[in-house]
């Protein structure tokens, strides 16, 4: 099994930004059109991360002209040039399939505040209580 692990590890990308479900990402993937190759951007909310190691995938959802579009990307695919994390979302679930049933404001995910901001905000509140 050692060899299999090594084969799998060899295919992992060296620099993949850390992101989880609820984050808004922009995925730049290569698209081949005949002879030419260009880069296509797909921006949306990460709905799920599935699988592990070299076969890991993630699903990005966006609403385009009123139609929900979901695209599944292979995390370690050479066709993905870059993944940009635009915003971290505050969610309590690993899979956000419930977004499919929601629209408009209900489908909005709140931005996750940086941990330092929460820490500084918390003591002030406790003082007020006392």
């Amino acid at each position: 099994m050692n060899i299999m692990n090594e084969i799998n590890r060899r295919q992992l990308k060296k620099s993949v930004p850390g992101f989880r479900a609820g984050d808004t990402v922009c995925v730049f993937s290569k698209v081949k059109e005949g002879e030419k190759e260009r880069v296509q951007a797909f921006e949306g909310v990460v709905v799920a991360r599935k699988g592990s190691s070299n076969t890991e995938t993630f699903t990005v959802r966006k609403v385009s002209y009123g139609v929900g579009v979901e695209r599944i990307f292979l995390l370690n695919s050479p066709m993905i040039e870059k993944i940009e994390v635009k915003q971290q979302g505050e969610v309590r679930r690993a899979k956000l399939y419930y977004l499919r049933g929601l629209s408009g404001r209900a489908a909005r995910i709140e931005e996750k505040l940086a941990e330092t901001e929460i820490e500084t905000a918390a003591p002030e509140q406790s003082k007020e209580v006392h």
């Binding site: 099994m1 060899i3 299999m4 084969i7 295919q11 290569k30 292979l74």
Partner: protein
Amino acid sequence: MLGLLGKKLGMTQVFNEAGEPLSVTVVQAGPCPVVRQKTKAKDGYDAVCLGFDPVTKEKRISKPEAGVYKKAGVKPLKFMKEFKPAKNEGFEVGKDVTVSIFKKGDIVDVKGVTKGRGFQGVIKRCGKAGGPAAHGSKFHRTTGSVGMRTWPGRVLAGTGMAGQMGNVNRTIKNLKVVDIDSEKNLLFLRGAVPGSKNSVVVVSSRAL
């Protein structure tokens, strides 16, 4: 037909040049030392005997077997197989045959023993539908009718019935060699291969 004996290591996913993911089986094939070379003059036909996987303890093989390996001047091996290559030359007893006989894009056949599933019923073994589970049904997973009436008066050959499933020799034909790692003797074959992990398979090419 020339091939190699190997060990199935498992399945995984690799990307090809176009960036498409491919499901592949990794087989550690060879190195297979030539144990014996048969010739038309001496044996009546041309063939080459390749061995695989050295034994851990020499007492595990019988004395007649040990004699064969001693004569060839190779370490005692667990497995041996005879191939009839298109060109019966360039082989030397005692020398290894490696994955270098294959190249990327080759089409190969893989023979192995499938995973044993024991005594199985018709639903799993033959793909029959079975009956309803509830609503007063008494026909669940049994075989049911296996034929007609006085005519033909017998059960037709090939009718699916319960019995031993798996643990039989199977050959998967026309698998593509996606990649080769000659350093570690690895073959990356597109698709599935019979057997469990660490089971012995024979990878051969009809063109060689």
